[in-house]
């Protein structure tokens, strides 16, 4: 099995690893590096549980070819908190009961972060659009939408 050495930046830290030919980023992150925050949901690109940012843009790790990522910067939900300081989105999901089984939560947080990175003043419809590629089987989405809107508010207050 051909293996390719790659070096990428994961949540701000340079990491080097070997990836198998054809391996997807999800497997590389989880088994190659040990960042377990992106989850396997379908390996089809249809559910969003493996959402990560590549160079600041939302992508699905399960359909991203790992060996193409040398030199790229990856952000996962595992890197959202700074030490013990949770990201406002994480705090908002906690306080607003926006997770039940928690399996979609890391991907959902990355989708939400990708929205707020570009748009600190999202309207509800924009939040709906932003999480539309991320499925949740437990919550009915509404608590998630509310939590993202509340986090945006907190973040706006903080930067003021």
């Amino acid at each position: 099995m051909p293996r390719t050495p790659i070096t990428l930046v994961l949540n701000g830290t340079e990491r080097s690893l070997f990836v198998e030919s054809g391996e997807n980023l999800l497997d590389a992150l989880r088994r190659g590096i040990g960042d377990l925050s992106p989850k396997y949901g379908c390996a089809q690109g249809t559910c969003g549980t493996c959402s990560v940012q590549v160079d600041g843009r939302l992508q699905l790790a399960c359909i991203t070819l790992a060996e193409t990522l040398s030199g790229r910067s990856i952000t996962t939900a595992g890197g959202l908190a700074e030490g013990n300081e949770l990201h406002p989105l994480q705090r908002s999901f906690m306080e607003n009961f926006a997770a039940q089984c928690g399996y979609c939560t890391p991907g959902m947080l990355m989708a939400a972060k990708s929205l707020l990175d570009r748009n600190p003043h999202p309207r509800r419809q924009e939040v709906v659009e932003a999480i539309s590629g991320n499925l949740c089987r437990c919550t009915g989405y509404e608590p998630i939408i509310d939590a993202i809107l509340k986090a945006a508010e907190v973040m706006r207050r903080r930067t003021r």
Binding site: R31, S37, Q44, M94, G102, P106, C136
Partner: protein, 600 residues
């Protein structure tokens, strides 16, 4: 946006307040793990040298295996082991054998004849998932395709293909006697004959996937001390452990199951297939083995909520009271039993819905067809028939010319009513729910409906068990010999059971085994049964000065358990029974895999 309100004024006197932690919106214990992506789901345990297991599956609905050639697959790069049916020590099981219900009817890996598309016949263990997939593709199987049956009614025809040889009539067999579950209460035929109008409907629900975001899976890892650890997505840890021990014919003491943090289940993670598969893999290879379903397998070979078909016939009197209701129900179990046999009984206990109807009958069938076996899902045994009942109620309301909410309230069950399964209703609240929704949705109902209460008007005549028509139609095997009608009494046979016939009684919970476990707070139930509680605050612990004395129930804050409580049988409240009154339990045929009780 959505809103939520608490209607605290309703049933307020049954609900003592003054609790510290109960009723608080405390944040979830697991939430920090969820938002940091660090909650330990089964697949979040990493093992060096993890092997991957995948199944070779039938492409046919119904077929016999003529030959299998896996020589090429076995030679492929990274392939460690081909697992065959003969590698499974006890390769026949039925899930509910753990409570001794039903016959062994399903192999873990099928050796000779498959009953559904996707049925596993062989497994491959390889270094990587990709290699396992390649090996699966390289297995050559010669099939003899057999005629199949996919429709529940066609499956009951005398000449239908036999789906599962263990049940040659294509139905589960109840109590070694009937090919269906019966419910008989009163005399529906007589009541239909005198009813003002008859309303009939036929309702169907197609199979539904539980679709948890985390697919089913397990990782089995050889531990020291000759044990196997199994990290699993199961919804039922010991159920899966017991099933694994049984199929692999190994002591449960050698199994260490770890789970408890699961990415959604909705009923689809009870079936206990991934656990024995992965443990078998670990036993055969001595290495950690993962067996998980990809999303396609989760969708199509993971058991769905099965399809249901219901025929309902109602008789109404001139005032809009339902005087008789008859059901014929079919649960499409797919090729094997799994849990559908249980759903049929659960559904039967649920009939005729939350209504007080003096004459009820049903025949419900667990039918085998050549499709993916069905299993539990959220609302198991109830969701489908509730759909049928409530659509039927809408039809009836329109036939009776009544507002649909008023029609429900008119027919609603109340405290003290006798239900069709011959137990009294208690703690009911259907009427209040209807009234509150009428308010919230501004759906006008009349003052008559508005003044009704679950607490009043039940019992009395409505608590009586009527004389009941019964029959012995549908004995096991009859349908293979000739066409037998499926609906209750359609074959004409009838016998009479006298009014008041009741063979058992309410089965309350077993009391605490030790007075120290007897709840100071469970006097909640005192208030629940007592319409006039003497204290509004929560009675507090009255711990014993002398623990020997405390074995007397008198110290427990309660009222006389034999006192009647507003037409209900709440006097049998289990938590207030003295330990000596523990009801006898017949312990026949206890499963050694999990203590269970024979139900056949």
């Amino acid at each position: 946006m959505s809103s939520i309100e608490f209607r605290k004024e309703l049933f307020a006197n049954e609900r003592p307040e003054g609790l510290n932690e109960i009723g608080r919106p405390t944040i979830r214990q697991d939430i920090l793990g969820h938002v940091t992506g660090r909650s330990p789901f089964y697949d979040d345990h990493l093992f060096d040298g993890l092997l991957h297991m995948r199944c070779v599956r039938s492409p046919h609905h119904h077929a016999r295996i003529r030959s299998i050639d896996f020589s090429e697959a076995a030679r492929l790069d990274g392939v460690i082991r081909i697992v065959e049916p003969k590698d499974v020590p006890q390769n026949l099981n039925t899930l509910l054998s753990l409570i001794n219900f039903g016959k062994e009817d399903e192999p873990l890996l099928t050796p000779s004849k498959v009953g559904y598309r996707g049925e596993p016949v062989l497994a491959v263990i390889a270094d990587s998932e990709r290699q396992a997939r390649a090996a699966v593709d390289a297995v050559r199987i010669e099939w003899e395709v057999l005629p199949h049956v996919l429709d529940v009614e066609e499956a009951l025809a005398p000449d239908a293909p036999v789906v599962n040889e263990v049940y040659p009539g294509n139905t589960f067999e109840y109590y070694d006697k009937y090919d269906h579950q019966k419910l008989r209460f009163g005399d529906v035929e007589q009541a239909f004959a005198t009813a003002d109008r008859i309303v009939e409907g036929r309702y169907r629900m197609s199979p539904i996937e539980q679709a948890p975001m985390e697919t089913c899976g397990a990782i089995a890892v050889p531990e020291t001390n000759d044990r196997i650890a199994c990290y699993t997505s199961t919804q039922a840890l010991f159920f899966s452990l017991g099933t694994t021990a049984k199929l692999l014919d190994m002591s449960s003491a050698r199994l260490h199951f770890v789970g408890g943090t699961v990415g959604g289940g909705f009923g689809g993670k009870v079936d206990s297939i991934v656990e024995p598969m992965s443990v078998l893999g670990a036993l055969l290879t001595g290495a950690p083995v993962k067996f998980m379903w990809d999303r396609e397998e989760e969708m199509q070979v993971g058991a769905p909520r099965g399809a249901e078909l219901w025929d309902i016939k109602d008789g109404l009197d001139s005032r809009g009271r339902i005087v008789a209701r008859s059901f014929t129900g079919y649960f499409d179990s797919g090729a094997y039993t799994r849990l559908s046999s249980y759903a049929v009984v659960k559904a039967t206990g649920h009939l005729p819905g939350p209504y007080s109807i003096p004459n009820v009958a049903s025949n419900v069938y667990c039918v085998f067809t050549n499709r993916t076996p069905a299993t539990a899902m959220r609302g198991f045994g109830i969701t489908g028939v509730d759909f049928a009942i409530e659509c039927q109620m809408d039809r009836c309301a329109r036939a009776a010319g009544l507002n649909p909410i008023e029609f429900r309230i008119l027919n609603a069950y109340r405290d003290g009513d006798m239900k069709a399964h011959r137990r009294k209703a208690k703690n009911t609240a259907l009427i209040e729910c209807c009234q509150v929704v009428a308010d919230k949705s501004r759906w006008l109902i009349g003052s008559q409906s508005r003044s009704q209460s679950s607490l009043r008007g039940g019992g009395g005549e409505r608590a009586e068990i009527p004389a009941t028509a019964i029959d012995e139609v549908g004995r096991i095997g009859d349908r293979r010999r000739r066409e037998v009608p499926t609906a209750p009494f359609a074959a004409g046979d009838r016998k009479q059971l006298p009014a008041g016939t009741q063979r058992g009684e309410e089965t309350p919970a077993a009391p605490p085994q030790n007075p120290d476990m007897l709840g100071h707070l469970q006097s909640e139930s005192t208030a629940a049964a007592d319409p006039l509680p003497t204290t509004q605050s929560m009675p507090r612990l009255q711990p014993p000065a002398d623990r020997q004395v405390d074995r007397q129930p008198a110290r427990i804050p309660t009222r006389d358990p034999k006192a009647p409580a507003s037409g209900t049988d709440a006097g049998q409240a289990p938590t207030r029974q003295p330990p000596t009154r523990r009801p006898p339990v017949r312990r026949t045929s206890v499963s050694r895999h999990i203590s269970g009780f024979r139900r056949r």
